[in-house]
Symmetry: C2
Subunit: 407 residues, 2 copies
């Protein structure tokens, strides 16, 4: 497996375009289209929020019932959530319009929206946007990058990754793009992420690989504990790599899962590190746990703790808050056995041993915590499993961004 | 039932004292003692955090195994949590010292600590503090108020309440004090709260009343979602009111429960409204639910949402975040039936009907949200049950307070 430049257009046959449709923002692109020159197998995972945005209902139906998908239309600025029948009608209209200009069935067009909840989409601008997008579709790194920029809301930078790997003597490419960066506490999926590959694989295995993988990647990040109404992760595979179709588990499937895991982990970490107001990516790894689930529950509880996040922002080695967050996680462990470390490019330091503080240097701890990527490692000394979660610090800017997001 | 001035010393026979022991803070009192002139029945609820501070273990043992309690020694500044055997030994030493100076058994002395996790108590100062406290014990409102001030950490004001009610022709008094104001997400109890009454009641009914009541009061508040290692709620009843002892449920027990509910609700709301950095008390009431549990789960999910809290800070009627938080709460309801209102001293406004936005005035909504106490009311239209939760907004000061709490 080899990382290459690019994102959602890295795999063969995938094209992208973007346009400034004037949905909410001024002077920036805010609509994107992703298109495959041939029909794709499509898998997806969606928000578990009981309040599901209209595009989530639309895409879920396509993933479940359509034979294939071939395009995705995305807008930033308005989420099309809590919009009733009108919101659902707008999904249909958007897909119909894309179907018309692309010459494909509406049942092959996924839609995705992100932004303010409760406002109706300016459907005339969306329709004009779709019409503007189709002729702009282009291959290559630049088109993918521009699309990754167009789907951002409070993100500070675009998020893309791509890798190549081998299946049956053929080079297969998988890449993707995603956006955050608030209301991020994915549960079975994440805000908006689109992963594309030219792999040939059965629909069943494509979905199985994705569903298994999100548990370790997108579901292990949190910015603010708020599971969005719009979380959508789509994985499209168009088969253009020319490999013999993967129809059963084995070495080829494993190679795909490894590449998928790299892509999803990278995108998820980018999203966590670019959380609203974040100054640092905060990684928590729990090692020597009895089970992976136990390790993941503990790690996720720590990255969700407001107090711990504020301490990370302050470069303060307030490890008591980490033990506290592990304690209320719901997972069992023995607090009197726990060792805890902080690690970053600034070094590694052991803070507690068997649940009690060591006589560590606060100065060194602060230096380690002043890096833009910080890891806490909790050693449970109970078994051999481990789990990792990713979050970010809690800063003044998180409050600023969200105190008056709508205006 | 009638509200009166005072707090933990309002009921007959209860005395309090405070002193500046120099545990962590300078130029302020930081230790308090609560004492009953006669032995008390004692009930308690404690943190469900797996990581339990030493004083929690000590008090839990007393509530379970001691025939009676007669004093509580409290310190602010250091939590005596994650302190191993040394921390447990310090509870014993503190209780032994109090027992000696008060002439009561150590098994009648509860201890409570709040502050930084992981530091050992300066036990010599604690011992000197206990010695200084005993001769200062005094009846009356002033002594109770001074004690309520001494147990504060990041609280901006002391928290007290007291009421009188009648049982068997006798006037019974119940009052209490508590402190917050970060790491507040009580689960079966709260940070530190001490409620005293001169009621005569069996130990079993005292505990039963308390355990039932915390579910509707202290367990329904949250400042930051972090369940502390030190949460302790003690309820002491010394029988000096002279009523016939309550030994079974009936009108007298109900009158007590009503008074207890008023005291605990008032203290809990004070704690929520004085949450770290808070500029507003944020109340959420869910009405016309199928069950009380459903209403409480939904209400609590909303007051815990960082995004909603930031919007309240910004006086922004971002109701989509409220519906979103209800949606990920885990409770079921029909989003398409929900009506939502904001209410405060500034007025009442209906924002959404049947899950979709009305054409309301943003200006009026902002006016209503600019009050120091704001209520959101969600009408599920499913049944007749209701539930309320209390939280606060998320401000810059929450981040400021917690980015470098230890220094």
């Amino acid at each position: 497996m080899k990382q290459i430049t690019g994102g959602a257009t890295a795999a063969k046959g995938f094209q992208a375009a973007c346009t400034a449709a004037g949905i909410k923002y001024e002077n920036r692109t805010d609509m994107a289209m992703l298109y495959s020159q041939v029909p794709c197998r499509v898998a997806g995972t969606f928000t578990t929020n009981l309040v599901k945005a209209a595009p989530v209902l639309w895409d879920r139906d396509i993933v479940k019932n359509s034979e294939y998908a071939q395009a995705v239309v995305v807008n930033a600025g308005i989420a099309n959530a809590c919009t009733g029948q009108e919101g659902l009608d707008y999904c249909q209209k958007t897909a119909d319009q894309a179907a018309k200009v692309l010459g494909i069935p509406a049942s092959a067009v996924c839609v995705a929206s992100t932004g303010v909840i409760g406002k109706q989409l300016p459907i005339d601008r969306i329709m004009a946007g779709v019409e503007a997008l189709a002729p702009k579709l282009a291959d290559g790194v630049e088109a993918g990058n521009a699309a990754a920029k167009a789907i951002m809301t409070t993100d500070t930078h675009e998020k893309e990754v791509a890798v190549e790997f081998e299946v049956g003597g053929k080079t297969v490419t998988i890449g993707g793009m995603c956006k955050g960066s608030g209301m991020i506490h994915p549960n079975m999926c994440t805000m908006l992420a689109f992963v594309t590959t030219d792999l040939a694989i059965s629909k069943e295995l494509l979905q199985e690989a994705l569903s298994a993988n999100v548990k370790d990647t997108f579901n292990m990040i949190s910015v603010d504990g708020d599971t969005s109404t719009n979380d959508t992760l789509l994985l499209m595979a168009n088969g253009l790599a020319g490999n013999p179709e993967i129809t059963e588990k084995g070495a080829d499937y494993d190679a795909f899962c490894e590449a998928l895991n790299f892509v999803n982990t990278t995108l998820a970490k980018m999203m966590a590190g670019d959380g609203e107001g974040a100054t640092a990516l905060f990684e928590v790894t729990v090692v020597n746990a009895e089970t992976k689930e136990q390790a993941q529950v503990l790690a996720k509880s720590v990255i969700c703790s407001s107090l711990t996040k504020a301490a990370i922002f302050g470069h303060d080695a307030n490890w008591g808050r980490i033990l506290c967050a592990m304690g209320y996680s719901g997972a069992t462990f023995d607090p009197d056995k726990v060792d805890l470390y902080f690690e970053s490019k600034g070094g590694k330091i052991k803070l507690i041993e068997n649940g009690v503080a060591l006589d560590y240097s606060e100065e060194e701890a602060t230096k380690i915590l002043s890096e833009p990527e910080v890891t806490a490692i909790a050693d449970l000394k109970l078994g051999e499993a481990q789990g990792t979660a990713w979050g970010c610090d809690l800063s003044y800017d998180y409050v600023k961004i969200n105190a008056d997001y709508r205006s």
